[in-house]
């Protein structure tokens, strides 16, 4: 079963790629991501001179591993989850922290100015988004009385968290986009840095990075689904179907949102998240605390 789940993750990542291609080019082509991947594999995989070879080589697999691990604890259906960890919600954060590590490594590794600026930019981005990932998840855990992801889904049976904690949902959604450096938060891979941290990667290494990014988007869309949209809960249809549909819808909204927005300025991102985001996240915790004390469910 585990193998099937892994294949499902890859299939999901492929669908995300199809959606992304559709958003970027405006045409829905099912084979485009496959051809793009093959085109990457068929090209030379160059290593810039004088790199920190260790960091340069570690970054792509680390990014992929981080994305897959964060995905591993998110359930598809009751009982259908790769690893039903007792600290699942915390583990998602832990795995996502290594996304930043991989990006910073990819920025530093090639000894190229654009990439390096992109890498350190992303660390700044982490300082902005990180609290907005963990604080809303705490509020979700308060309601579920558990860090187990399946328990979090079950706790939403009366009402999905997106309705019960709208503020947390909004903050988490935006922060999730920032984690996956999707537009408008694509600061590390920005066009104003000639693709930044991805810029010096070619061939197979770039293919791995792109794959990792897709899995990451999928993982964050699943996280939004599981933590806020009631995961597998839904009428009539089988639970797995609901998770998949919700996840793809969230991924599509994430990808589509960036189409209409210019890239955020890094200083704005930091300012907004600390002067607005974190106070709102605290308000969210306060709000959830009160409702749980009063309503008790």
């Amino acid at each position: 079963m585990n193998l099937w789940l892994l294949l499902l993750i890859l299939a999901g990542a492929y669908l995300v790629a199809v959606i992304e291609n559709w958003v970027v080019t405006g045409r829905l082509r099912l084979l485009a991501p496959l051809l793009a991947g093959i085109a990457l594999l068929g090209r030379e995989s160059l290593v810039p001179r004088l790199p920190d070879r260790l960091l340069f080589e570690t970054a792509p697999p680390l990014l992929l591993a981080a994305a897959i691990l964060s995905m591993a604890v998110l359930p598809l259906a009751p009982g259908t989850v790769l690893v039903d960890l007792a600290t699942g919600a915390l583990f998602v954060n832990a795995a996502l922290a290594y996304v930043m590590v991989a990006v910073v490594m990819a920025g530093w590794g090639p000894d190229a100015a654009y990439a390096m600026i992109g890498g350190w930019r992303f660390l700044g981005q982490l300082v902005a988004y990180s609290m907005l990932i963990v604080m809303p998840i705490t509020a979700v855990a308060m309601r579920a009385q558990s860090l187990v992801t399946t328990a979090i889904v079950s706790s939403q049976a009366p009402l999905p968290n997106a309705v019960a904690q709208p503020l947390g949902f909004l903050l988490f959604f935006l922060a999730a986009m920032a984690v996956a450096f999707l537009p408008p938060f694509d600061l590390p891979t920005a066009s104003d840095l000639a693709d930044g941290v991805f810029g010096e990667y070619t061939g197979a290494r770039l293919a791995i990075l792109r794959l990792a990014r897709l899995v990451l988007v999928l993982s964050l869309a699943t996280a939004v689904t599981v933590f806020y949209l009631g995961g597998w809960l839904g009428p009539l249809l089988p639970p797995a179907f609901w998770t998949i549909v919700k996840t793809l819808a969230v991924a599509a909204v994430m990808l589509l949102g960036g189409r209409y927005l210019p890239r955020t300025r890094s200083d704005h991102l930091l300012e907004w998240s600390w002067k607005l985001g974190i106070p709102l996240a605290l308000v969210n915790i306060f709000w959830v605390g009160i409702t749980l004390l009063v309503v008790q469910r």
Partner: protein
């Protein structure tokens, strides 16, 4: 011709080649904006634009690639992974680039066909056993000396202009003194040749401070960086060492017995940031070929972290590269002169026509004047849309870019005034929507500000974005008849520049319709034999003046005063202490055309 990968074309490689030929990405030279200005849309033809040559399979040459840009193009080409190909559209592949795989005229249909052709070439020849390494123009490292080649290259660039506080005369902020920066800049070619030529200790400006600390004693030591690099380079080529420079011989350690050198003393020569931290500053080139910036604009930022402390322009690689063709018979002069700037060719055609007309006639030819207005306003709208597309690329705003390109194509395809009038509602909706997008406003307001700059020296939309009532059209009686008033904004930042250009785009459509003419101005030049002529027009980038002398039916001297030369003076102002992306937004907001810069 195609630069293939090394290997026997086995069946699985052939299969792969067929598949990979379906996904082609292109790095555009001189730039995407030139492609758009030529009416081409590489994306629609199946070539998705790449932000870096590392991600590109095709080098797309568009329009006229001046020889001075060829070296940069060759460097970019060398940095592309194989299999790679060159697609030349409306131009030839200049040396040292290898010949183009496919060469077609600059038409969208031809481009589409060319991409199909390129796919076939790629599918057949992606692997080959007979290959030669491409060399951008370096001597092989073994013999080390190929004075002819390097000499020529160095000379070609030796008059590099270095715009800094000393020479620019613009408005500057205060920059703390930086060791080495005020020394003359080494020209690109020599730097480029750095790893092939024997290093000359002491001539390279960039020294790396190395600190050795031993038993509490610290000794700063300067090491010639280029030589250092060379050793490292060697290592990198021979081994995939774990440690950077594994096996690299240690620099000798000098132990200083006398005194203890504190961190304060060690860092005292380093430049200070506004927060007082001593940091090393990094010079990062953003051009001449940087997607998002106009191709040919050789911009270099001196960065303190991600913040620009100083911006400089090396000589524009494309600056008036075709000036040599200007002199000659009067009859073809407007067409030749229009090639000056692929981004605003028609504007310069109009300028040339008006200068010649001033020479010829005593009375104003009203038909000619109206058609000049129609063509100029069409050019303005097109130019602003092209600018908007590049700007949107830089901002990462896909919707804005797609809309700008689609409007650009519809306007370019509009055959007559009526169809332009029909475009008006769409343009209106677009402009209103862009102006009412808060995220865009947040992004741009206060960025690239030049408040307090000397607006009297500025030209065009940039001047008008700072409230400067500067427009060559206000003095024109015909424009006056049309009820023209210049668009003014007062923000003096990137947002105001955008607003001015959006409003002017809309205004230009109205003026075109009112002028009632779109066809290129036709001038009977047979009468022009001798004399001098002068004309001033408002090009999309601002007021431009041309002085001409003609004798015996031949153009003798051409003296052009172009707006980008003036707006360039804002370079320091819009970039100083700005984050890299903001600095780039500021530079692009000035809409400099590297083609019309005279330096």
């Amino acid at each position: 011709m195609l630069e293939a990968r090394r290997g026997r074309p086995t069946w699985e490689r052939r299969l792969l080649a067929r598949l990979l030929s379906h996904h082609l990405t292109a790095f555009v030279i001189p730039g995407l904006e030139v492609a758009h200005a030529c009416g081409l849309d590489p994306e629609a033809a199946g070539l998705s634009p790449a932000a870096t040559p590392r991600h590109a399979a095709v080098l797309l040459l568009v329009g006229e690639v001046p020889p001075s840009l060829a070296h940069a193009a060759a460097v970019v080409y060398a940095q592309m992974p194989r299999p790679r190909a060159i697609l030349a559209v409306g131009t030839d592949s200049p040396p040292p680039l290898p010949g183009a795989s496919v060469t077609v005229p600059a038409m969208q249909e031809d481009l589409v066909a060319a991409v199909q052709q390129l796919r076939a070439v790629m599918a057949r020849n992606a692997w080959s056993t007979e290959l030669s390494a491409f060399d951008a123009d370096h001597a092989p490292p073994s013999d080390g000396a190929s004075p002819g080649k390097h000499g020529a290259q160095t000379e070609a660039n030796s008059h590099d202009m270095h715009l800094d506080r000393g020479t620019a005369g613009g408005v500057h902020g205060q920059t703390p003194p930086l060791e080495g920066v005020d020394k003359p800049h080494h020209d690109q070619a020599e730097m480029a040749a750095g790893h092939a030529m024997p290093p000359e200790p002491g001539t390279h400006q960039h020294h790396h401070h190395l600190m050795e600390e031993h038993g509490g004693h610290v000794q700063p030591q300067e090491v010639d960086h280029v030589r250092h690099e060379q050793e490292m380079d060697h290592v990198a080529h021979t081994s995939a060492g774990e440690d950077p420079g594994d096996g690299h011989k240690h620099l000798h350690h000098r132990e200083h017995e006398g005194g203890f050198m504190s961190m304060v003393m060690m860092t005292q020569d380093l430049p200070r940031s506004p927060d007082g931290l001593p940091m090393e500053w990094l010079e990062v080139p953003f051009g001449p070929l940087f997607p998002g910036l106009p191709g040919g604009l050789a911009l270099t930022f001196t960065l303190d972290g991600d913040t620009v402390t100083r911006a400089s322009l090396t000589q524009s690689a494309v600056a008036r590269g075709l000036a040599a063709t200007w002199s000659g018979p009067v009859s073809g002069f407007p067409t030749r002169f229009a090639r000056l700037d692929p981004l605003a060719g028609d504007a310069y055609r109009v300028l040339a026509v008006r200068a010649l007309e001033a020479m010829r006639a005593t009375t104003v030819d009203r038909t000619l004047a109206w058609s000049c207005i129609g063509v100029m306003e069409r050019q303005r709208a097109l130019s602003h849309l092209t600018w908007l597309a590049s700007f949107a690329w830089l901002l990462g705003d896909r919707w804005l870019r797609a809309r700008a390109i689609s409007l650009l194509q519809r306007l370019r395809g509009a055959p007559d005034v009526d169809s332009v009038a029909r475009l008006r509602p769409g343009v209106d909706r677009f402009v209103d929507r862009v102006r009412s997008m808060p995220p865009l406003r947040w992004r741009l307001q206060g960025v690239g500000g030049f408040e307090g700059a000397d607006t009297a020296r500025l030209r065009g939309p940039v001047a008008r974005a700072a409230g400067g009532d500067e427009d060559a059209r206000t003095g024109d009686p015909l424009y006056h008849d049309l009820g023209f008033t210049p668009v003014l904004r007062h923000g003096a930042d990137a947002w105001s520049c955008l607003e001015v250009r959006l409003a002017e785009m809309r205004q230009s459509l109205d003026l075109m319709v009112a002028a009632g003419a779109l066809s290129a101005p036709d001038l009977d030049t047979s009468m022009v034999r001798d004399g001098t002529g002068m004309a001033t027009v408002e090009t999309p980038r601002g007021r431009s003046t041309l002085h001409l002398t003609v004798s015996g039916g031949l153009v003798q001297t051409v003296d052009l005063d172009a707006p980008s030369t003036y707006n360039m003076e804002l370079l320091q102002t819009v970039t100083f202490q700005q984050e890299v992306s903001d600095a780039l937004v500021g530079v692009v907001s000035l809409d400099l055309s590297p083609w019309e810069l005279d330096r």
